[in-house]
């Protein structure tokens, strides 16, 4: 599966929750797969100390 992520910098694992987090140049969001599509969730996005980072609203991008 492929998704184009604007400003993609890294993917990391939250060591406390085990969730995968996408880090871009200005934000970070938790990533899951659901029904064959990427699901980006904001409510569990951890503070990874990225300057200016903020969660984005729930949203989906095409798989």
């Amino acid at each position: 599966m492929v998704a184009q992520i604007k400003g993609l910098q890294d993917v990391r694992r939250n060591q406390e929750t085990g969730e995968v987090v996408i880090v871009t140049d200005d934000r970070h969001v938790a990533l899951k797969l659901q029904d064959g599509k990427f699901v980006l969730r904001d409510e569990t996005a951890p503070d990874l100390g990225v300057p200016g980072a903020e969660p984005i609203p729930d949203g989906r991008i095409a798989a």
Binding site: I5, L8, D10, R13, V20, K32, L33
Partner: protein, 210 residues
């Protein structure tokens, strides 16, 4: 190093060497939890160094010889019994910006000795703070952990096995662009299998479902 009880432990190096690393790694070395870090000597380059917590102190356990040339660096992969001999080895990519030697070190007392190596891999590029471009996983199911990591030019993902003490590439996959992110294995869809996740320079987030 901050312990779960809140205690903070520190180990200070003499002035002729520094830690050239972003964070220490907790490893299991033959059943004992230890701390793996990169120590760089000003006149001889980097070496792997391992510590343990003993009597409330962070104590040196063993160290490899440094690379031998100033400003030459290495990036640890992790620890496992990579050759299947029953003893844990530490793996690292030595000079990932040059020849990229994936090297196994085995502890012998207070020393880590080089046991095997294979050139042509890289887990870091200059200017990046990403250090986790590798995964330890038994890919071929032979009971011996393998290493998934990028090729030297980072446009290919390879699986390297040291089973039996002989390094060999089990297979590789061409990438659509060079990898720039950590390489993560995680169960993204909750189906029990670990998916492979990484990002490319062209902005593509890749998930290989398994």
């Amino acid at each position: 190093m901050r312990l779960q009880d809140g205690a903070v432990l520190a180990h200070r190096l003499p002035s002729y060497s520094v830690y050239e690393d972003l964070e220490p790694r907790i490893i299991d070395l033959n059943g004992e939890e230890m701390v793996l870090a990169v120590r760089a000597y000003l006149n001889a380059g980097a070496a792997i160094a391992v510590y343990r917590v003993t009597d409330g102190k962070l104590q040196p356990v063993a160290e490899a010889d440094p690379i031998g040339i100033p400003f030459r660096w290495l990036n640890p992969v992790g620890a496992a019994d990579f050759d299947g001999d029953g003893v844990t080895e530490v793996a690292a990519v030595v000079t990932p910006h040059l020849s990229g030697r994936l090297t196994l070190y085995q502890r012998d007392g207070t020393k880590f000795e080089r046991e095997a190596e294979r050139s042509g891999y890289s887990t870091h590029f200059i200017g990046s703070i990403v250090l986790d471009m590798s995964i330890i996983e038994d890919v071929n199911g032979d009971g011996v952990p393998d290493i998934i990591l990028p090729s030297l030019d980072r446009d290919r993902l390879a699986v390297v096995s040291f089973a039996g003490g002989t390094p060999r590439e089990l297979g590789s996959m061409q990438l659509r662009s060079t990898i720039v992110t950590s390489l993560i294995a995680a169960d993204l869809d909750g189906k029990g299998a670990l998916d492979l996740i990484y990002g490319l320079r062209n902005g593509e987030l890749m998930v290989i479902r398994r």
